[in-house]
């Protein structure tokens, strides 16, 4: 080692650039050197930053596009602004910010119907009207406030857009991480078009966003903490208990849901508890801690029919800590959602919180890192992600089979590498389901990949995996797989949450 050290010293004299790469080696970073022509996210999806006017503390809590092509954002400080020309090639020059409302209480949800904005404050869901048409809201109508807040900072409220039935889904965080001190903390409530507020799901802890998938089913993101081993995407199926029992006492106020579920046992496994507690619904997707992200946030569904690239009908989920956007491919097995998440785009400027995907294929991302740190170092940001039109070589879909997985790719694969089981690595693990905060990965297994069979059209591969592990995340790496053109995957990793193993496929 001394010799290497000497060598390093010499290189320092020789030049800074050389020196840096050697230091990296010396520090034990054994990542493969990046070839000059290796694919880069930036080649496929470009980030455009908005220039934020001086004095505006944007801290974007929520985003909403209007039908006339403007973008509204709400701030944690309680303002709502409209941005004109949000799709401009040079927003710094062509986009204008106009204040619409202020004085609201930490707005983390925005929705729109008939050209009218709805804002989710801590205290209530509010309809904002501009009766005199001067561009500023002058009437603030309380449309729902059937929950309580106690003054604890953690008691946030998020909401969805209007869904296919005209409902808004409201997700209320617990008081702190561990308790539900006042009414309906840790619950999802649904505002119906008739104005009634329907208790819908219990067991929420700390949502970071609410959004529907392409089928119109509603999901929210949950964050690692008590009863949550890792961040997750959970299906808000009416009547479901989503894991954290602190809010059970409010079943007395939710007669529509019947009796309260049995208490889960701490220090167990979620899949085991779910066998005993029928209401307990396992997460559709786990976002493995720090591998994918550390605080899952906003949800957007690609319903652009290809304007945002090849991933239509899939979900995009933000991560506040990692300043990333992740991608989710869902499927239903035995009537319940499960599926895979993939890295998608990193390098956003602040802690991503709100996501809004336009029908024209622009993903708006709003960020803040106040109170919770983020990799992106700006205190707040508003950015737009556009597809360049170039298709990245990615795993498009990862679907479970009774004896493995079927992978579909965005581009034809090279059958030699993609057909070689050695091009793949798989391991599985799950989390402790416990009242303590978070969980390490536990119960690891390393199943063997018996075969990899490339389809005739070279667009998919069937992996036969010995002993799939129900209830486990299946972490798949594909370092060896190449496209027909010889390129590696832009993101050679996928994390599949296997709540249930599908029954044997009937022969086609």
């Amino acid at each position: 080692m001394n010799r290497l050290h000497e060598k390093i010293k010499m290189k320092i004299v020789a030049g800074v650039i050389v020196c840096l790469s050697v230091i990296a080696l010396d520090l034990g970073f054994d990542r493969p050197a990046r070839a000059a022509d290796a694919p880069r996210e930036d080649d496929y999806y470009k980030i455009t930053k908005f220039k934020i006017p001086d004095g505006l503390v944007l801290e974007a809590g929520a985003l909403q596009l209007s039908r006339d092509g403007r973008l509204a954002f709400s701030t944690r400080r309680g303002d709502i602004y409209w941005i004109s020309n949000p799709f401009a090639a040079d927003p710094a020059k062509d986009s204008k910010f106009v204040k619409f409302a202020s004085g609201l209480h930490e707005v983390l949800g925005l929705a729109e119907r008939d050209g009218v904005l709805y804002a989710m404050q801590r205290c209530e869901l509010t309809k904002l009207l501009d009766d005199d048409g001067d561009g500023r809201a002058d009437r603030f109508e309380t449309v729902a406030d059937g929950w309580e807040i106690s003054g604890d900072y953690h008691e946030y409220g998020f909401c969805s857009k209007f869904d296919k039935n005209g409902d808004i889904w409201i997700a209320l965080t617990l008081t702190g991480s561990f308790t539900s001190d006042v009414k309906f903390r840790g619950w999802c409530l649904r505002l119906k078009p008739d104005g009634s507020l329907v208790p819908t799901c219990s067991g929420l802890r700390s949502p970071g966003g609410v959004g529907a998938n392409a089928a119109g089913d509603m999901f929210y993101t949950e964050n690692q903490g008590p009863w949550n081993g890792a961040c997750a995407l959970k299906h808000l199926e009416p009547g479901a208990f989503l894991g954290h029992p602190a809010g059970f006492k409010w079943y007395d106020l939710a007669k529509n849901l019947g009796k309260r579920p049995d208490e889960p046992k701490s220090d167990s496994r979620l899949i085991e508890e779910a066998k005993r507690i029928p209401e307990l619904s396992p997460p559709a997707i786990y976002f493995p801690y720090s591998k994918m992200g550390q605080s899952a946030s906003g949800i957007a569904c690609d319903t652009t029919d290809g304007k945002f690239g090849p991933f239509y009908n899939q979900l995009f989920v933000g991560d506040q800590t990692a300043s990333t956007v992740m991608r989710v491919d869902l499927e239903k097995v035995n009537g319940r959602y499960q599926g895979a998440c993939f890295p998608f785009r990193e390098g956003f400027s602040s802690g991503n919180l709100a996501l809004e995907l336009s029908p024209s294929g622009s993903l708006f991302v709003g960020g803040t890192n106040r109170g919770w740190g983020s990799r992106g170092s700006k205190e707040f940001a508003l950015e737009r992600l556009d597809w360049t039109g170039k298709v990245p070589f990615e795993i498009l879909e990862m679907r479970a089979r009774h004896d493995g997985f079927k992978l579909t790719f965005t581009e034809p694969v090279d059958s030699r590498t993609a057909g070689d089981p050695k091009s793949y690595q798989i391991e599985t693990y799950t989390y402790i389901y416990q009242a303590n905060y978070g969980s390490p990965e536990v119960d690891q297994t390393k199943p063997e990949i018996a075969s990899a069979v490339v389809s005739d059209d070279h667009k998919s591969v069937v992996l036969t995996v010995k002993s799939l592990a129900p209830g486990h995340v299946h972490e798949l790496h594909l370092p060896g797989v190449r496209s027909a053109e010889g390129a590696p995957l832009l993101h050679p990793a996928a994390y599949y949450t296997m709540n249930a193993i599908p029954a044997e496929e009937s022969k086609p």
Partner: protein
């Protein structure tokens, strides 16, 4: 921590590491019944298992040290590097801590008195009469070293002690002792029945500094503060049957003095009996005096020293003579005095007075075998003792005999005891370790011969000891490597009870719940002691040394203490860790900038415009805005630079599961404006900036700067948690320099004030915890409860239920076009209410005008609605203006109404009510205007 990842990273540390994982599981799974064999936690956890899986040499080597074999059997050469000696408790003052009755029982049968003890029975197989005689002599000899004074256990302190015991780390080695949670794990170091052994004071003295009595550090010092050790003693001795009877008479006086008064000339205001020198029996805090009277029971003649702390003056007298004179006005300080006392009872008087301010009184003493402690336990209310049982009086003949037994039986081989004649030397001789050839005789025999200590070893223990002796004395015994030495210290001091290193150890599952944190959201990282993988490469040598020798509290969020093990026990560990864990150095990094500018870049990178480290890490006295992780100013003194450079790039690699994000993922920096995004230079700049420690300039964005909301021509609205107006408050600042906070939970005007509006920084900095108070002046808090209510009659009390429980509904607000002043809308049943406030300029200070409009069109409930305009203790007509009311003499109000207001007394309160009635018979609306002058 993920076990597999750790396992993956183990390269070359061998058998014991991997194997021990499964042993740990085995050991905790099997709840074993104790068979009376000595309990050595490390052996029970890692080595008590079937021979095939055992590593008997390591296990046996541990036992050779922990059972003190080397104290009698000399160990030489390389073997001495392997077998450690453990010094048994120092017995110099054992008589002051432990009861003679316990000593007698314990010596006669150590295992029965304290199951699991590592002390052997030295009287096993000694003829009964002889044993009895020698034991009695030993009891007198040991008891002669001090006097154990009894004092009662107090419930309040038991409660405090229970919390401390279960939080600071006692449960890492000992069993949990909460009601219903007592679990005797086989790895728990047993305590026996402490109430038989210790007095409260004796145990508290031990807990305060265990290393003074047991210098070998197996029971480390938990650095307990203040009364904590005493509280834990109370808790551990709960159930001790010492009667809590009054032992003092007292008289209480009131008056103003600057010195102690002549009590003979005064008449007491109160008198009675009490069980300690306490001031709490006073009837007021200032200008009082107390006189305590009792009898000091002296069992041994000698010079006694008395300590009195008081605020203000105090005096202690014995047999009519002043011994401590601490008279006059002063703060709480100690003063001392001495007196020679004969055996018997002595009249004792303590006098105390307080003028103003704080008050305090503490009376302690020491001498003739009594360590410094509270005087109260030695005092009785009458000259004679209340109990018939006489105090234990050592017999000088037996004391002398006991001293010889202590030497002859070999007690002195393990225990140090120094009396007036010096250290007692052991006269027991035994073969040296290398000369032990028959390993089924002596201590290892099935039935040890008379004179051999009987440890009652279990079979796995015996096998391990035999294997260890053979290995240590064999010709090819090898010197321990630094890795071996580290593992052996961690095992010996039971560091493994809390820490994992190289896959071995860590908190056992059953004890996990007792490791807690002040910041639950940090998860395990916030509550479990850190793993020790690579710790020698992480921590600076001096810092590590200090932790091992003195304990630490670097992690403010962790409730468990890192205890003090002392240099003699853990001193060498730091060096071995540093050697084994050494990281390859990160080369020096040159900048073409002056050092000052490099540090300025570091400061920028740490601050809120870049990596925002202050979200989680405190800096000097500045709290972080999120969780409170380790203070940044100690980083460079604590951490090695080589480690820091690696860690910040990839925290997960070094602390799996940590919340700490990487600001330099894959060596990239997201901050391109600093050193062109060069990650190595950025990290180095941060390091150099932090090297200034306390002197470093505060990073950007730390701490809270005020964000006052300034009101211009338009009203400003602030919906947030506002003090006095609840969590659904709506603050409004008016251009006329009046402000209101409307409580949307209770549909009432909650607080009004003048001048500046509000400071939003509490809610707009960090996570925004808590309620913010008004920023301006003349804050008037208006009565709790709804403003408008239906009453069954004009006499019915104003409802106390909140609006959210009643037939009310908040509808929102609308803003005026010109000045954006809000009108609040809400509903009581069918009555719709518009509630508008406005500022009215006035030369004597602005006033507030509140206008309430009621829509009664849909109201068919009859005329039963009222507006409560004011409530207080007293409401009067203003003599200066007969149309105004004065509330509690502090503020005034006037009303414009169509119906005359009512002043009434209801439920002990004065109230100003206005019936809500239409102005005319045909109108279906009503209006009330109220002016607030304050």
């Amino acid at each position: 921590m993920t076990v597999s990842r750790l396992r993956d990273r183990l390269n070359g540390f061998p058998a014991i590491a991997i194997a021990s994982l499964s042993i740990a599981t085995l050991a905790s799974a099997a709840a074993s019944k104790r068979d009376g064999r000595p309990v050595v936690a490390g052996f029970e956890r890692f080595y008590d298992r079937p021979e095939a899986e055992a590593d008997p040499v390591r296990g046996g080597t541990l036992l050779l040290g922990e059972l003190n074999c080397a104290s009698c059997h000399k160990v030489e050469g390389i073997a001495a590097l392997l077998v450690q000696t453990k010094q048994a408790p120092i017995l110099d003052q054992i008589g002051g801590r432990v009861r003679p009755d316990f000593l007698r029982a314990y010596l006669a049968d150590p295992r029965k008195t304290k199951p699991g003890t590592t002390m052997p029975n030295v009287f096993a197989n000694v003829p009964e009469a002889r044993a009895k005689e020698e034991i009695e002599a030993l009891v007198h000899f040991l008891a002669n070293t001090g006097v154990a004074l009894e004092s009662p256990v107090r419930a309040l302190q038991v409660g405090f002690g229970e919390r401390v015991y279960h939080q600071v780390g006692c449960v890492a080695c000992h069993g949990a002792r909460k009601e219903g949670e007592r679990e005797d794990l086989k790895t728990s170091v047993p305590l026996g029945d402490l109430t038989k052994k210790y007095t409260v004071n004796g145990l508290a003295t031990f807990l305060q500094d265990p290393l003074a009595i047991r210098p070998s550090g197996r029971m480390p010092s938990l650095n307990l503060k203040g009364d904590e050790s005493r509280d834990v003693a109370h808790f551990l001795l709960e159930g001790l049957s010492v009667k809590n009877e009054p032992n003092l008479k007292y008289q209480y006086y009131e008056g103003e003095w600057e010195k102690l008064p002549d009590f003979a000339k005064l008449e007491p205001v109160a008198q009675g009996t009490v069980d300690d020198f306490v001031v709490r029996i006073r009837k007021r805090v200032n200008n009082y005096a107390l006189r305590f009277e009792g009898y000091l029971q002296v069992d041994r003649e000698g010079v006694y020293r008395f300590h009195v702390a008081s605020d203000d003056g105090a005096k202690l007298s014995i047999d009519g003579d002043v011994v401590v004179d601490h008279d006059g006005v002063h703060s709480e300080t100690f003063k001392e005095g001495e007196r020679k006392l004969t055996v018997g009872s002595h009249k004792l008087v303590v006098e105390h007075f307080n003028g103003g301010g704080e008050d305090a009184l503490t009376v302690e003493f020491e001498g003739a075998g009594i360590a410094r402690q509270s005087l109260s336990p030695a005092v009785t209310i009458k000259p004679e003792r209340p109990d018939s049982k006489p105090a234990f009086r050592p017999d000088p003949v037996l004391v002398e005999r006991g001293r010889s037994v202590f030497a002859d039986r070999g007690c002195a081989s393990c225990h140090a005891l120094k009396d007036s004649r010096g250290i007692v030397e052991s006269k027991l001789s035994a073969k040296s370790l290398k000369d032990l050839h028959n390993l089924t005789s002596g201590c290892l025999a099935d039935r040890p011969a008379a004179g051999s200590p009987d440890y009652a070893l279990g079979s796995s223990q015996k096998a391990a000891i035999v294997a260890a002796i053979k290995a240590a004395t064999s010709a090819d015994v090898k010197k321990p490597t630094p890795r071996d030495s580290i593992a052996s210290v961690l095992l010996r001091l039971n560091c493994y009870a809390c820490h994992v290193r190289d896959g071995v150890g860590g908190v056992e599952k059953e004890r996990d719940a007792y490791f807690t944190t002040t910041q639950k959201e940090m998860g395990d990282e916030g509550r479990l002691p850190p793993h020790l993988n690579g710790v020698g490469g992480k921590l600076e040598s001096e810092w590590l040394k200090n932790i091992l020798e003195n304990g630490s509290k670097d992690r403010p969020y962790m409730i468990t203490h890192m205890p003090r093990f002392a240099a003699s026990n853990a001193g060498s560990l730091g060096e071995a860790l540093a050697e084994v864990d050494r990281l390859d150095p990160v080369p020096a990094i040159d900048f073409d900038l002056p050092e000052k500018q490099v540090k300025a870049q570091g400061r920028y990178l740490v601050g809120s415009k870049a990596n925002n480290c202050g979200t989680c890490h405190a800096f000097k006295n500045f709290q972080a805005s999120g969780i409170q992780a380790i203070n940044m100013t100690i980083m460079t003194r604590r951490l090695r630079r080589d480690w820091f450079h690696r860690y910040v790039r990839n925290p997960q690699e070094y602390r799996p599961g940590t919340r700490m994000p990487s600001a330099w993922p894959q060596e990239k920096s997201l901050i391109t404006e600093s050193f062109n995004g060069d990650s190595t230079k950025q990290i180095e700049a941060v390091w150099r900036y932090l090297s200034d420690g306390d002197q470093a300039a505060v990073p950007y964005g730390l701490g809270r700067s005020p964000i006052p909301l300034v009101v211009g021509k338009e009203a400003v609205i602030y919906r947030n948690f506002i003090e006095g107006a609840g969590p659904r408050a709506i603050g409004v600042g008016y251009p006329e320099k009046v402000n209101i906070a409307f409580d949307a939970n209770n549909l009432r005007l909650a607080v009004i004030w003048q001048g500046d509006f509000i400071d939003a920084s509490r809610h707009w900095t960090g996570r925004g915890e808590g309620f913010e108070a008004p920023l301006g002046d003349d804050i008037l808090r208006l009565p709790e409860g709804v403003s408008v209510a239906r009453l069954a009659s004009a006499e019915a009390p104003w409802p106390e239920t909140s609006a959210r429980q009643g037939d009310y509904r908040f509808l929102g607000y609308s803003l005026a076009k010109i000045d954006r002043k809000p009108t609040f809308h809400y509903r009581l049943g069918a009555i719709r209410i518009d509630d508008y406030s406005d500022g009215i300029p006035d030369p004597r200070g602005p006033r507030l005008k509140r206008t309430l409009s009621f829509d009664l069109k849909a109201d068919d409930a009859g005329a039963d609605a009222y507006y409560r305009a004011a409530a207080g203790n007293k409401i009067e007509i203003d003599p200066a203006d007969r149309d105004r009311y004065v509330i509690d003499g502090t503020w005034r109000t006037s009303l414009e109404t169509s119906v005359k207001p009512i002043v009434r007394n209801s439920a002990g309160k004065a109230e100003l009510l206005v019936p809500i009635r239409p102005a005319t018979d045909t109108a279906r609306t009503a209006k009330i205007v109220q002016i607030f002058i304050w």
